[in-house]
């Protein structure tokens, strides 16, 4: 088994996910299934093939340094759960 309880708990913590016992068991199994499937790729000979950073045959997509209008503040804050003095209010951090 590649993914054990400790790994799932750590990843959940990093992702700020609160998992119960059932979910932890479920994700251990599911993540191992996924990784086992990915293992199949290891049988492919990749000798001499450069690592791929991007799946599309694109490079150097850039824009000129020209200012575009920003979004109206009202719209930006429309989805803020808590707006205080034109800013996004967020709960205690640490």
């Amino acid at each position: 088994m590649m993914i054990d309880r400790a790994v799932v708990e750590k990843v959940a913590q990093l992702s700020r996910l609160a998992l119960d016992e059932k979910e932890i068991e479920l994700y251990i199994k599911q993540l191992n299934d996924i990784l086992s499937t990915m293992e199949i790729l290891k049988s492919i000979d990749t000798e001499g093939i450069a690592p791929l950073a991007h799946v599309l045959p694109l490079k150097n997509v850039m824009r000129a340094d020209e200012v575009q209008p920003s979004m109206a503040k009202k719209e930006i804050l429309a989805n803020a759960p808590d707006e205080i003095e034109g800013m996004f209010g967020v709960p205690k951090i640490v």
């Binding site: 990093l14 799946v55 200012v67 930006i76 967020v90 951090i93």
Partner: protein
């Protein structure tokens, strides 16, 4: 002498001076109302796509070239995942294993000795938003307010090798780095305003030990002075721990400027914890070699080269050359002044003396300066011609500094032209001698210092405008005839 060798490496973030953010067209202008320079891209709303600002790549490559780096032929962006409300996406777009530039260096001079400080890498990334904590400190705050105007402002992070061994070396490195960045014009590089930020990685090891000790990372350093103070504090702190047989914990610490101490902020997340992976929304960057060579050709004269030129061609002392070239503002002013004025040493003296003293005392920056080099050259020429005395020149300079007026204008307006006319001065001397019979007697009685008093009286009577050489000569003549 301490038993430990100090090992320091720096991570310096430089805010690039572009018009727009790194991945969207929002302005980078400073000081806007909170959340007014924000759009769906920099807010990371679903369905939006970042597009790299071409200027960011150009500036990063320029910085790489100026810092003697190799420019990557193939570079890409990655996501650095972390949960913190200064970024809305829960990741920062940065560069991980294929940064735009690597393997550079800066040469610094400390205690008269040159030392090379390696530059590990330079990578491009987006800045985070600004959080205002509701409470006195982050740990006691009831909550925080987020302003995302700064989110997406382009940064380059310049990572040094752990090559520095003292606070003095760090200072020299930072000053040189700042100067180079200013010279190439990619950033204002001003620490107090946050356009240059510095994190310090510091560890100690017993002299002779090959492996590094455990390091602490110090953040929240807002001035050159706080960097120096924090390093000295942190060295002492780690020394105490090691001397007591303890172990330094690998962690991030924050510098408290008022308390003059570092405090633990959080235990250092392993780099694995950021779970970097290639940014799928941005295609890779493959730089055109000819373009890079063109940028290399177009680099301006850098501080070290300029310093050498001032020493060899202008014959300035090493000390003067260092000061003049330490910032772009000073160097540009000097070059401008020299275009209209020949005496290099005098030009340097006036810049390092009068000009910089006034700028410091009135907290004026080069960009806000009213006096222009051409007018300063005119003032110095008037002084050289003897049209005004040195004392008057300083007065005129002060007015030029405050108002930006031309030297000739002020001299004329205030009637400050130096009086060299012997008849005029002679009349004043006669009055002074008549009004100060006691000093005249003293002089005749052998008290030569009475002469100084009489000269002073003549200068006073002429509001300092009399040519001191002429005054001295005439006064001597007259006294000897009495």
């Amino acid at each position: 002498m301490s038993d430990y060798e100090v090992i320091i490496g720096l991570e310096v973030h430089v805010e690039l001076k572009t018009a727009t953010k790194i991945f969207c067209g929002c302005t980078t202008a400073f000081g806007g109302e909170p959340n007014t320079h924000v759009c769906p891209v920099c807010l990371g709303l679903p369905g939006t796509l970042p597009i790299l600002n071409q200027k960011v790549l150009e500036y990063a490559v320029k910085a790489g070239l100026a810092l003697n780096c190799q420019i990557a032929e193939y570079s890409k962006f990655d996501r650095k995942n972390y949960f913190y409300p200064d970024l809305t996406k829960a990741y920062q777009i940065s560069q991980y294993d294929l940064p735009i530039a690597e393997h550079g260096y800066i040469d610094i001079i400390v205690g008269g000795k040159e030392k090379r400080i390696g530059i590990t890498r330079i990578h491009m990334e987006e800045d985070a938003g600004k959080l205002v904590h509701q409470g006195s400190t982050i740990t006691t705050a009831s909550g925080s307010l987020a302003d995302y105007n700064r989110a997406g402002i382009p940064l380059i992070e310049i990572v040094s090798e752990p090559d520095m061994r003292s606070a003095e070396e760090v200072k020299a490195y930072l000053e040189m780095l700042k100067a180079i960045i200013e010279y190439i014009g990619v950033s204002d590089a001003r620490m107090e305003q946050g356009s240059l930020r510095c994190d310090v990685n510091l560890s100690l090891r017993p002299f002779g030990q090959a492996v590094f000790g455990t390091r602490a990372e110090i953040k929240n350093l807002n001035s050159f002075r706080s960097v120096e103070r924090a390093i000295k504090y942190e060295i002492a702190r780690q020394e105490d721990i090691l001397n007591d047989g303890g172990q330094v914990v690998q962690e991030t610490r924050t510098w408290d400027e008022t308390k003059g101490q570092t405090f633990s902020l959080r235990s250092k997340e392993d780099s694995d914890d950021y779970r970097y992976f290639p940014e799928p929304d941005l295609p890779p960057i493959i730089v055109d070699k000819a373009w890079v060579e063109q940028l290399r050709q177009d680099l301006p004269e850098l501080p070290s080269a300029k310093k050498m030129r001032l020493i060899t061609e202008d014959h300035l002392p090493e000390y003067d050359a260092s000061i003049i070239t330490a910032s772009k503002g000073t160097a540009d002013f000097y070059d401008g002044l020299r275009k209209h004025y020949d005496d290099a040493k005098k030009a340097a003296n006036w810049i390092m003396g009068e000009l910089m003293a006034k700028m410091n005392s009135q907290n004026v920056d080069w960009s806000e300066l009213k006096i222009i080099p051409e007018n300063m050259a005119q003032l110095l020429s008037e002084l050289d011609k003897g049209a005004i005395s040195g004392k008057i020149a300083k007065e005129v300079f002060a007015e030029m500094f405050d108002t930006g007026k031309k030297a000739a204008e002020i001299i004329k307006e205030k009637g400050l032209v130096q009086i060299s006319d012997t008849n005029a001065i002679s009349t004043v001397i006669d009055d002074v001698l008549a009004n100060n019979p006691k000093s005249v007697e003293d002089f005749k009685g052998g008290k030569k210092q009475a002469m100084g008093f009489l000269v002073g009286q003549v200068m006073k009577a002429t509001k300092g405008q009399a040519n001191p050489a002429v005054v001295n000569q005439l006064l001597n003549e007259k006294l000897s005839m009495l």
